[in-house]
Symmetry: C3
Subunit: 423 residues, 3 copies
């Protein structure tokens, strides 16, 4: 079961101290490259202007802890990288409990979980702590230390390009900027790594581009450099995030709501009899925010398992590889995305190779002797089908026009593909 | 009555041994040329690739018969060219009744009719026979002979071009490949021959192109050579077939269903209070299959009498000039197509010659003295009408917008044409 | 109250002998220029061809009267310039009552009013007279005199351009060709004079162009010279006529019916709880006839008080500044048009300055620390709003998409404008 391999790979990525820049990102990408050598590791320089944003300085963190008056480490970054607010500035001082509490983040409703907190663009520092631990802190003087640094460096990203017969691209994007969290981070890149491995072994009709980006800033940077090509080549795209648990399915539409990506996603969910929660564009939260933004408007939607923000372990240490992300969940998602790709590869928008009607008789698709209505209903349907193969109608739309069933039309589509009459 | 002349001309064309190539086609075209010298006889060479097809070898047939053991001709091609499967290969042999029956085509439900059968693209032979004759055949040895040959030659077609003020073209197409059948063959070319004669005597706004083609292969060949021009110039087209009986009317839409040709056809049918059967694109069967095919999509529909495949005599010797096609039927169709042309020539999509309102007063269309509401309702309507003459609205659509009747709007259109305000 | 000033200015314009050309027009424009020096007085030469029309000769009139046999002036142009048919040719002769009556215009239903009559394009002469006066005329010989002349000259028009941040233009047009009438003439130019004065003191987002034209011929001439620019720059326009009485409101749509101008007008009428009569394009009667004509089709509609042709005093001496046009009516219209302009200036069609999402944190619009759902509903709404700022959706349409209220969305629009995120 591929799910086991993906889960194992996610475990390998788990301990890495990821952020939107820095060595954790590079390390993550190099591990992905071990699985798929096609990955190219690329970068944007700190300070580069990308639309309204600037690539931030690289953040590096060596250590961080809180010690109590007995010099005991009550918080230790080395035990869990979520303990420190991501992008915290250097700090090393003694501090009262009252002052310390102002710098602590915790989740009362999940008293044993460490929350995930970031402060990328405002210089700040803080710790994330289990609520149960926090409420038992004594009123004493604490020693807090964060050994972090900022330097000019790079935002890295990974890109896998798998060329197909057509230059038209299918885009898959995921993010590699969250530290040790499972569903809302590792499930995406782990799944896409194995999807890419599977894809490259296939002969594909379409070109596939798989992007491993820092969420938001990475996507914005990528779009700012590639907008022209994205606009002309991408016919469908998917933001792949939160694809590792086995509790349910979610669909979040593109802004347009009826793009090719949406129609593909909905068709596959229906085809596989998958019950899913249909979210609206207003529920969006990942990189579809950028890919569908004003001025961009690409055909990009998102098919997920439990959606970010909607499951209890989200953005906390509880979002782990033991209880949330499972081999079963990853395997189901792997199958689902394979199913999506296979469907795309089936060419759901059949286009006739020939102008005018093709010659069916010589391909055993029509009687060679014309005698009254000697053609069968099926043969008639083949002709009707072909008459609609303009490349802009979906199989189910053609079925409706032909007053036929989707099953029948799909059979004909397969048959005519085999006969090299449509692609 | 023009119907008599057309019927007489159809009779002249009747005995010719037509097929999709060969001397019968040339003979047919030369007789049409006698009526309208504007006809140009053109050709495609055998073996020429046209889209997915190849122009076939020329088929010639000298004789064909079946003799019984008493040497009596029980089937004689010279008596009716439908007796032989069109494009049959040469044969000359003795054959048992059992084997003969495998090569016989007949229609049980029309026991005295010879069916029409072809096998253009697969080498084969066969005979068509009356059911009553077939069932009385004795169990003896028969002598079958078909004296046919294949050779490199041409597929011929005829083209009549009648230039008008505008380069925009109205296309009429029909076929000249069926042997002795009346409604589903001769009615089309006979009618269009006389339509073309009538058209060339007129001064026309639009350019008319009339094509006499072999069905399917002829149209495909023509389109493959003329697609660019067809796409840019043809604003409406009609496949003219089955226009000779007097039993009813049929309309078969273009694939688009709402092309200019469709709207013109429907308007004329309505205008003339003609009851007609409305078919769907799925019921198509003639050259609209090519003119509306993927990659072609021209504005071409079909207005017929009893539609091919829908009347009992179809594709048999019963489809004749005595019982099926009548002078009356041909005359009605002649009137109908004249009516269509006249309607086109009326410029149903009025376009103002001027930007802004034209000056109506100096043309006696509006009071020159402006005194309260001294203009009449009619004068007001003229202004309303003109305000909609963008060249993309049909008279009845303008009528609706003006809350007026089509009659009234037509009068105004005529008036303003005369006044050189719209065209 | 601005209405008083506008009314006073209208009084100043009242006695001028206006026509579609001539000194009255120049005089009118020079008085407008006294209020707003930005006005440029421009002209078209007599005889200039403009689309289907020709700029007419200039008409000048010194005096005109009818004297009875006792040499008493029973009609005196100097008392009211409506007494003479506008563009009357020179005449000086004795005439019987019977013949005189053929040249008299009167309104039986308004027995004490002088009608307004013109004959611009056909050489003619005539007098307009009160019905009560006419019916008491004795059967005697009258002396009629019109001291008018025609000469090569100009059609004048006024143009005020108030540039804004954007080159996109809002167009206001009115006419300056009717003699002493109040609602259906002076209300328009008087109002726009003061609107222009108010506009030029503002810093505007959009460019405003205000045109004082002879109705019909002036607009046609202007359009013929400026069509290219009008087509590319004008995003909304309004024909400002009949805006002086205080009896009700009217809205006459553009030909398209759903142009930006229409939507702005309807939004403001609704916003101000104004009850109005909605006319149709068929009820049009002023320069929207030209601005929305075939080949022109600009986004121009009309918001009026009592519409021309629909109030009893229309086109007569009863349409005066005492009983019809009131300071209150003018003031209400002034407020309404200010309201329309203010709404336009609010940029109802927000467009993001940035591709992709802008960085909200650095602008204090979003938490800089990302901790669970630490963003507020309001902050979420900001992001939703921004995602729809493609520049083609109206605030209320965005509100609907965001499932928010217009009030809320307007607040956000204002906020983001201030933050230079949308314009």
């Amino acid at each position: 079961m591929e799910g086991n391999k993906i889960h194992k790979f996610a475990k390998k990525l788990w301990p890495i101290d990821r952020s939107i820049t820095g060595p954790g990102q590079k390390k993550t990408l190099s591990l992905i490259k071990e699985i798929n050598k096609n990955l190219k590791i690329k970068k944007f320089k700190s300070g580069t202007k990308v639309f309204d944003w600037k690539i931030p300085l690289e953040w590096r963190i060596k250590d961080a802890w809180i010690k109590n008056s007995k010099n005991e480490k009550i918080i230790d970054f080395k035990k869990n990288n979520l303990y420190v607010v991501n992008y915290s500035v250097k700090i090393d001082k003694k501090i009262s409990l009252a002052d310390l509490k102002k710098k602590l983040f915790y989740i009362k409703s999940r008293p044993d979980a460490i929350p995930y907190v970031t402060s990328y663009y405002k210089k700040s520092w803080g710790f994330c702590i289990e609520y149960n631990k926090m409420k038992n802190l004594k009123d004493e003087i604490y020693n807090v230390k964060i050994d972090s640094s900022f330097s000019k460096g790079h935002l890295n990203y990974g890109e896998i390009l798998i060329p197909g017969k057509s230059k038209k691209e299918i885009l898959f994007t995921t993010y590699i900027c969250h530290p040790s969290m499972a569903n809302n981070e590792l499930s995406g890149p782990s799944l896409l790594t194995f999807i890419s491995k599977w894809l490259k072994k296939r002969k594909n009709n379409y070109t596939y581009r798989i992007l491993f980006l820092s969420e938001t800033i990475g996507s914005i940077a990528y779009i700012s450099e590639n907008l022209q090509r994205l606009k002309s080549n991408v016919i469908a795209g998917f933001v792949v995030s939160c694809v590792g648990d086995d509790r349910g399915y979610s669909y979040l539409p593109s802004k347009n709501g009826n793009s090719l990506a949406d129609r593909i996603a909905l068709k596959i969910l229906k085809k596989n009899n998958i019950k899913y929660k249909k979210y609206s564009w207003l529920d969006r939260g990942s990189d579809e925010r950028q890919f569908c933004a004003p001025g961009i408007n690409l055909p990009v939607c998102s098919v997920m398992r439990s959606k970010y923000g909607e499951y209890p372990e989200y953005h906390s240490s509880d979002d782990n590889l033991a209880n949330v992300v499972t081999p079963k969940g990853l395997n189901q998602s792997f199958l689902l995305y394979k199913s999506i790709i296979k469907e795309i590869e089936k060419n759901e928008f059949p286009k006739s190779y020939y102008s005018c009607e093709p010659q069916l008789g010589k391909r055993d698709l029509y009687p060679t002797t014309s005698f009254h209505n000697s053609f069968s209903k099926h043969q008639k349907l083949i002709k009707d089908f072909l008459s609609y193969c303009d490349g802009n109608l979906y199989l189910h739309e053609i079925a409706k026009k032909c007053k036929s069933s989707l099953t029948e039309i799909k059979k004909i589509n397969q048959l005519l593909k085999k006969k090299k009459l449509v692609f």
